[in-house]
């Protein structure tokens, strides 16, 4: 047998996308997960596939690659793709302050220069596109390439595609440690025995830091909590993904204390999803009503007419956060056999398919479609070398 044996650690959307890509490439792929597929971060997000929130740079390049790949991948998945609920509905970024408008216009211009479709909207165009949005806006930009999926369904489609291509799946297996022979990771010890392989891909999302530490090669990937509110089903009210221009700043920020910015969109079932929040609280999953309250207040600033709409549910999850806000993709230079595909923070759904393509090219020893250098593992932010004193993963904000 000369097929590369790949063990993917984590059956979220990134692990699933990688499993499909590597199985199609002819690898012998096994996916394991501590719980069930897509059960953690993947199923606790909104399903964003966004270009609009990314400024020029390596993450935008990965996002553009991914956005180009998504329709191809879904077409290739055939009937399996239905569960992904692909909606290329486009995004609209709305500034509600003068400062917001002053930031949004040059940001959009820089994105256009990088090949993103970003169309300035006047008040009439905005009202035609989103009749219920606030009249109190100072600028608006339409991003027709933004899309949305039902994230757990998208991950299930990708993983089903992987299984159809010959990969196998074992749920309920937790990695306890590594087996290193001659400086190379040759196996992982799990709760259900040892698994051997040639390549072990860490795709454990916010748990990637802990998992890498168990394997003896720590990376600085930490959880950053977010919450989403879900309204009762409404007649069509919100037609695009609409968010406040200050969202871009919040995504790019590394602050540990609570940040909220409005992201409003409808689902196929008619509910409106309202995000977003960012807090670094370790894996503390307790709901904080003041966070929900802050999200509601920001959402009403964008859509005042939702004031009487009931919120029937809230859910939260953990994003894999890296201090320099770039994913970690590629081989670990400290331990042969260990690879990483993680650290996508809130963009993992969208970036999953591009990430998988990079991993496949790097594993084949080919030049990837985009420069993978910025995502390499041995950068100071990933190896924990430029972490400010006092900000540890378990830090509690109050």
């Amino acid at each position: 047998m000369d097929r590369t044996r790949v063990v993917i650690l984590g059956a979220g959307i990134v692990g699933s996308a990688c499993a499909r890509e590597l199985a199609l490439a002819g690898c012998d792929v096994l996916v394991i997960d501590r719980g069930g597929p897509a059960a953690a971060t993947t199923s606790h997000g909104e399903g964003n596939i966004l270009l609009s929130d990314k400024g020029p740079g390596p993450e935008l390049e990965l996002a553009k690659l991914s956005r180009r790949l998504w329709p191809e991948v879904l077409t290739d998945l055939g009937g399996l793709a239905v569960q992904a609920e692909w909606q290329p509905k486009g995004g609209i970024v709305v500034a509600t302050t003068r400062a917001g408008a002053d930031g949004l216009r040059p940001f959009a211009a820089s994105q256009r220069a990088s090949g993103v479709v970003a169309e300035a909207m006047d008040a009439d165009a905005l009202r035609a596109a989103e009749p219920h949005v606030t009249r109190e806006h100072t600028a608006a930009v339409h991003y027709p390439q933004d899309a949305q999926v039902q994230p757990a369904g998208a991950a299930a489609a990708l993983l089903s595609g992987a299984l159809a291509a010959g990969a196998s799946l074992r749920s309920g297996r937790e990695v306890l440690g590594g087996v290193v022979r001659g400086g190379r990771l040759t196996g992982v010890r799990t709760s259900h025995g040892t698994l051997e392989g040639d390549v072990f891909l860490n795709a454990a999302g916010p748990w990637s830091g802990e998992l890498a530490a168990r394997l003896g090669a720590p990376v600085d990937i930490r959880p950053r909590r977010g919450e989403v509110l879900v309204t009762t089903p409404l007649p069509p009210t919100v037609f695009h993904k609409v968010y406040d221009a200050d969202y871009v700043g919040a995504v790019g920020s590394g602050a540990g204390d609570l940040q909220t910015s409005a992201v409003v969109e409808a689902t196929l079932a008619g509910s409106v999803l309202l995000g977003s929040s960012r807090r670094r609280v370790g894996f503390d999953a307790r709901t904080r009503p003041e966070v929900l309250s802050a999200i509601a207040a920001k959402a009403l600033r964008l859509f005042p007419s939702l004031a009487r709409v009931p919120v029937m549910r809230a859910y939260g999850g953990f994003r894999p956060y890296v201090p320099d806000h770039l994913p970690v993709i590629g081989p670990d230079p400290r331990l042969a056999g260990l690879w990483h595909a993680s650290g996508h923070e809130g963009a993992g759904i969208g970036l999953s398919v591009g990430t998988a393509r990079l991993v496949r090219a790097l594993l084949d020893g080919r030049e990837p479609e985009i420069d993978a250098g910025p995502f390499r593992v041995d950068r100071p932010a990933v190896l924990g070398e430029d972490v400010p004193a006092g900000s540890t993963a378990g830090e509690e904000t109050t």
Partner: protein, 486 residues
């Protein structure tokens, strides 16, 4: 609102006990906590105390048992007035708990409430101890056609008949299991419906075994059996057939119920082939017991007991203390045991929540009443178990989640695919439990079906996890809460 200053000059302030639910358990808890010297805030979503229980008694019971009822009512009324009128108590009517916040895991959580009409006022209560007595709601198992207009939960039919004198239909079939079917049928008669038949899925033998196994336990609940006897008499007078060992397995009709199909069922509720019978009816009222309202206990971090989805309750110790610091539970959330047990549990919970003397003499009879009530409940459960083969009457296209119209085939497909079998992923994929009722109707049923299909959820709290415990309008949520109390 402090209790005053002690003689030594030390400032003595009673503990602040928040009681959620003003049914028999909650009212008793508030009463006992006040008696033990606490400051009490009693919260209920209704305008008046009493909970479901006091809204549920048919008139026939009153007619047949004027003394018993009068006695019970007086006791209730006195307790109500004593609690509401007490100088250390605050009665928050029309108030819902929308969130529980465990800000400090070493003590009782914050209780976030909404009070009054629109817009409701948001408030945060800071208790020293929290007593959860939210009660239960009807459980209804799905069957083909149960989404048709004309199908009612037994509790909803009862509330309409009793509360608003609205008859749910002219020809009504009452079906399901448990003694609660009897007062429902009687109330329907009183509201002017013709009750065609009452179908009790439990077979006569099973019911007899359950009721007669330990007669001495029955004696302690004589009030309850007297109550049931009066219903039986009322049904007999109207010549309403009461048929054990039969279940409604389908409702049919063009746009609304026109007929129901029933069949004989075995002890495990498997359908006996060839016993199907069609009955013309324009309404069917169904009840298969009760589901405890566990979301506040789950949000409080209370450990649960039981593993079968329909048999999960809050774990409490002899003092009604849950595993969560400062949180007590009483009534149906600890086990479906009826009003007398709920009252006793509530009194014990309120007393200990208030820091009452553990050697107080009044505790012994309360504990005895509680234990008798629980024993009675145990017998009820034995007499009216939900048979494990009930899913036999489901078809692939039978709706399981009425809010999202998810059918049984979709639930089976998700549970059977290793890629999507995890509970949350299956929920997002099938949408069962994601609609306006947030799985209050179908959550336990879906968990039970999934367990049968080989995809049990390892977390028994999952069907009850609702961090937003009550829908809250965006404007209410966005507004800052009024000054924190306590």
């Amino acid at each position: 609102m402090s209790a005053g200053t002690g003689g030594t000059g030390r400032h003595v302030v009673g503990r602040h006990v928040v009681v959620v639910g003003a049914g028999p358990a909650g009212l008793a808890a508030a009463d006992a906590a006040l008696a033990a010297g606490a400051r009490v805030t009693l919260v209920d979503s209704a305008e008046q105390p009493g909970g479901q229980y006091h809204r549920m008694l048919p008139d026939a019971y009153e007619a047949a048992n004027p003394d018993v009822l009068q006695h019970g009512y007086n006791a209730f009324e006195q307790r109500s007035m004593r609690v509401i009128g007490h100088r250390r108590s605050t009665w928050l009517a029309d108030t819902s708990v929308w969130a529980i916040e465990r800000d400090d895991p070493s003590r009782a959580p914050l209780v976030h409430v909404l009070t009054g009409g629109l817009p409701r006022e948001r408030r945060t209560l800071r208790p020293d101890a929290l007593v959860l007595a939210p009660g239960a709601h009807d459980r209804v198992l799905p069957f083909p056609g149960w989404e048709l207009p004309g199908v009612f939960t037994a509790g909803a039919a009862q509330a309409l008949a009793k509360g608003e004198r609205v008859a749910v239909g002219d020809r009504v079939v009452v079906a399901g299991t448990g003694p609660f079917l009897l007062p429902v049928a009687v109330s329907l008669l009183e509201a002017g419906s013709r009750v065609v038949e009452v179908l009790e899925a439990a077979r006569a033998a099973s019911a007899t075994r359950g009721w007669l196994r330990k007669p001495w336990e029955l004696a302690a609940q004589a009030g309850k059996t007297g109550e049931l006897a009066s219903y039986t008499a009322a049904l007999a007078r109207e010549r309403v057939p009461y048929l054990p060992g039969r279940a409604v397995i389908e409702a049919r009709g063009d746009g609304r119920v026109e007929e129901v199909v029933s069949a004989r069922v075995r002890g495990d509720w498997s359908v006996v082939p060839g016993t199907e019978r069609v009955t013309a009816a324009d309404a069917v009222c169904v009840g298969h017991g009760f589901t405890p309202r566990l979301e506040l206990a789950v949000a409080s971090g209370c450990e649960l007991r039981g593993s079968a989805p329909a048999e999960v309750f809050v774990e409490v110790d002899g003092e009604q203390r849950t595993s969560a610091p400062g949180v007590y539970a009483a009534g149906e959330v600890t086990g479906i045991a009826g009003a007398p047990a709920a009252r006793a549990e509530g009194a014990v919970a309120g007393w200990f929540a208030a820091g009452g003397d553990p050697s107080a003499r009044t505790l012994a009879p309360l504990r005895r009443a509680r234990d008798q009530g629980r024993a009675f409940a145990e017998r009820l459960a034995h007499a009216h178990p939900v048979g494990r083969e009930w899913p036999g009457w489901l078809r692939g296209d039978t709706i399981v989640c009425r809010c999202e119209e998810t059918d049984y085939a979709a639930v089976c497909a998700a549970a059977g695919d290793p890629v999507s079998s995890e509970a949350r992923v299956a929920r997002l994929g099938t949408r069962a439990g994601l609609g306006p009722c947030q799985g209050r109707m179908c959550g336990v049923t879906v968990a039970e079906l999934r367990a049968r299909l080989g995809a049990p959820d390892p977390d028994p709290a999952a069907p009850h996890r609702r961090p937003v415990a009550e829908p809250i309008r965006l404007a209410e949520l966005a507004a800052p809460p009024a000054e924190r109390e306590g």
